[in-house]
C-alpha cells in the first residue's frame, strides 16, 4: 500500500496550519482516498472545530494514556466520507508535555496505522515533539504568511529542524562533541551553516559527508497562506530561494493560498470552508497543492530518512 504521512507545521501561530490540514484532508477524501487527520497540536488542539465537530472521546489523550489500545481505535468517523479524525486531547497539560516514551509510541503507531493518507496537524513552535513529528513525515509542509514575524519564525522553525536532523545523526554515530560545535557556530551568522560544514569537511570528511547528505534529505515544502497580492505570492519563491542558499536545504514552494474573508465566517458557523466555498480561489489553490503533492513523482519515489530517536 502506498502510504503517506503528511505533516503541516510552521513556526508561528495563526498561519493557517489547521485550515490547510482540514482542507487537504477533505479534498483527498473527496477523491475516494482514505484519510486520517491527526490533531497533533499538543498545546492547542482545534482541528475538529474546523471540521464542524464537537470535542469528544476517544481522542489522542485516550491513546496516550492507554485508554484505547491503538491509534486506529482513537480515529473516529466524521460526517464526511473516507475521512476519520484523531481529535486533540482536552487534557492539555498532560499532552503538551509528552514524554519521550509516549512520543516514540505515537510515532510507531503512526507508521503502523493502516491508512493510505495520514495528515498531522502540528502545533506552533520548535519543541522536540513537534520537530520529530514533522521530520517523520513526507511531505512536510511549512505554512507561512507574508508578515515579517511569520517569515522570521519560519526560518527559525527550519533552522530548528536542520539542527534536530543533524543532532539525531550525531547521536547515532556517537559524535556528540560535534553538537556543541554546531550550536556555537550556527548561531553566528546566516552563512554559519556553510562555515560549520566547511570546517567539518576539512577536519573529518567522512562525518561531514554523512551529515551533509542527511541535511540534503530534509526537503520540506512551503505554502504561503493569506496572500493578498502578487508580491505576497512571489515572496514564497524568494523564501525558498533564500533557504536554498543560506540554509542549504532544497525547499519546494508549493504556492499561495489567497486571503479569504469567508474562512472566518465558515469557522463561526462551524462548517468546513473547503466544502462551503469549494469554488473560491483559496479552495482551488488547496486542490492544486494537494494534487501536486499526492501525485508528484518526487514524493512517490522518495521516502523520508527514518528518524532514529535516542533511547533516553
Amino acid at each position: 500500500m502506498d502510504k503517506r504521512i503528511w505533516a503541516i507545521g510552521g513556526g508561528k501561530g495563526g498561519t493557517g496550519k489547521s485550515f490547510l490540514a482540514a482542507s487537504l484532508g477533505l479534498h483527498l477524501a473527496s477523491l475516494d482516498r482514505e484519510v486520517v487527520l491527526v490533531d497533533a497540536d499538543l498545546g492547542a488542539p482545534n482541528l475538529h472545530t474546523l471540521l464542524g465537530i464537537k470535542a469528544s472521546h476517544p481522542d489522542l489523550g485516550d491513546f496516550l494514556t492507554n485508554a484505547v489500545p491503538s491509534l486506529a481505535e482513537a480515529a473516529v468517523e466524521t460526517p464526511y466520507r473516507n475521512l476519520r479524525i484523531v481529535k486533540g486531547s482536552e487534557n492539555i497539560l498532560f499532552i503538551a508535555n509528552l514524554n519521550h516514551y509516549r512520543k516514540l509510541r505515537l510515532l510507531r503507531q503512526l507508521r503502523q496505522m493502516e491508512a493510505p493518507n495520514i495528515i498531522l496537524d502540528l502545533g506552533t513552535g520548535s519543541s522536540f515533539n513537534t520537530l520529530d513529528f514533522f521530520l517523520s513525515a513526507n511531505p512536510g509542509v511549512v505554512v507561512s504568511t507574508p508578515e515579517p514575524t511569520s517569515i522570521e519564525n519560519t526560518y527559525l522553525f527550519l533552522k530548528s529542524c536542520i539542527m534536530r536532523v543533524l543532532k539525531l545523526y550525531m547521536d547515532h554515530y556517537k559524535i556528540r562533541d560535534l553538537h556543541q560545535r554546531m550550536l556555537e557556530q550556527i548561531e553566528k551568522n546566516s552563512q554559519s551553516l556553510y562555515g560549520f560544514f566547511k570546517s567539518l569537511m576539512e577536519s573529518d570528511r567522512a562525518y561531514g559527508t554523512i551529515l551533509y547528505r542527511a541535511l540534503r534529505g530534509f526537503r520540506p515544502c512551503l505554502v504561503m497562506n493569506k496572500t493578498r497580492d502578487d508580491r505576497d505570492v512571489l515572496l514564497g519563491r524568494s523564501i525558498a530561494d533564500v533557504a536554498r542558499k543560506y540554509l542549504l536545504i532544497d525547499m519546494q514552494y508549493l504556492g499561495a493560498v489567497p486571503y479569504d474573508e469567508d474562512v472566518l465566517s465558515s469557522l463561526r458557523e462551524l462548517r468546513p470552508f473547503y466544502l462551503e466555498h469549494g469554488d473560491s480561489a483559496a479552495a482551488r489553490a488547496v486542490r492544486r497543492m494537494s494534487e501536486e503533492l499526492a501525485y508528484s513523482i518526487e514524493f512517490t519515489l522518495r521516502t523520508p530518512p527514518e528518524i532514529r530517536l535516542p533511547d533516553a
Binding site: I151, Y169, Q191, Y194, S238, D241, I297, T303, R308
Partner: protein
Amino acid sequence: MLKRIEDWNYYELLLVERTASPDEIWAAYQAALTTYQTGSPALYGLVTEAERGLVLERVQEAFQTLRDPATRKEYDLALLRRAPYFPPKAPFRKSVGKLEIEEALPKKGLWARIKAIVFRRHDA
C-alpha cells in the same frame, strides 16, 4: 555539492538551467531582484544588509553576463573548462525503504573488535 554563495555560478545564483532561454533568465533575474532588494521581507531574520548587498551585486553581474549571447557563450566555455556539464537526469528509484544513514561507513563489528584485541595481545 557544498558551496559558498560566492562560489555559486551564475545559473545556480539565478536558479535557472544552463539551457535557459533569454526569457527565463529575464524572469529569474526579476525574481532575484525582488528577493534581494532593500528591505525585502524574504531576508528578514536571516540575512544581514551587507550579505544582501553582495548577493545583489552578483545577481546583477550574472544578468549582465547571461543577457548577451556572446558573453554568455564565453562564460559557458569557461564553466565547461572547469567542470563538464551533464543535463539533469530524471529521478530514479534509489534504495527505497532503506535509510540514507545506511550509506555511511560501516561500524566496526564485535568480531572485528575482538580480533583487534586478540592480535594486539598476541603480537605483544
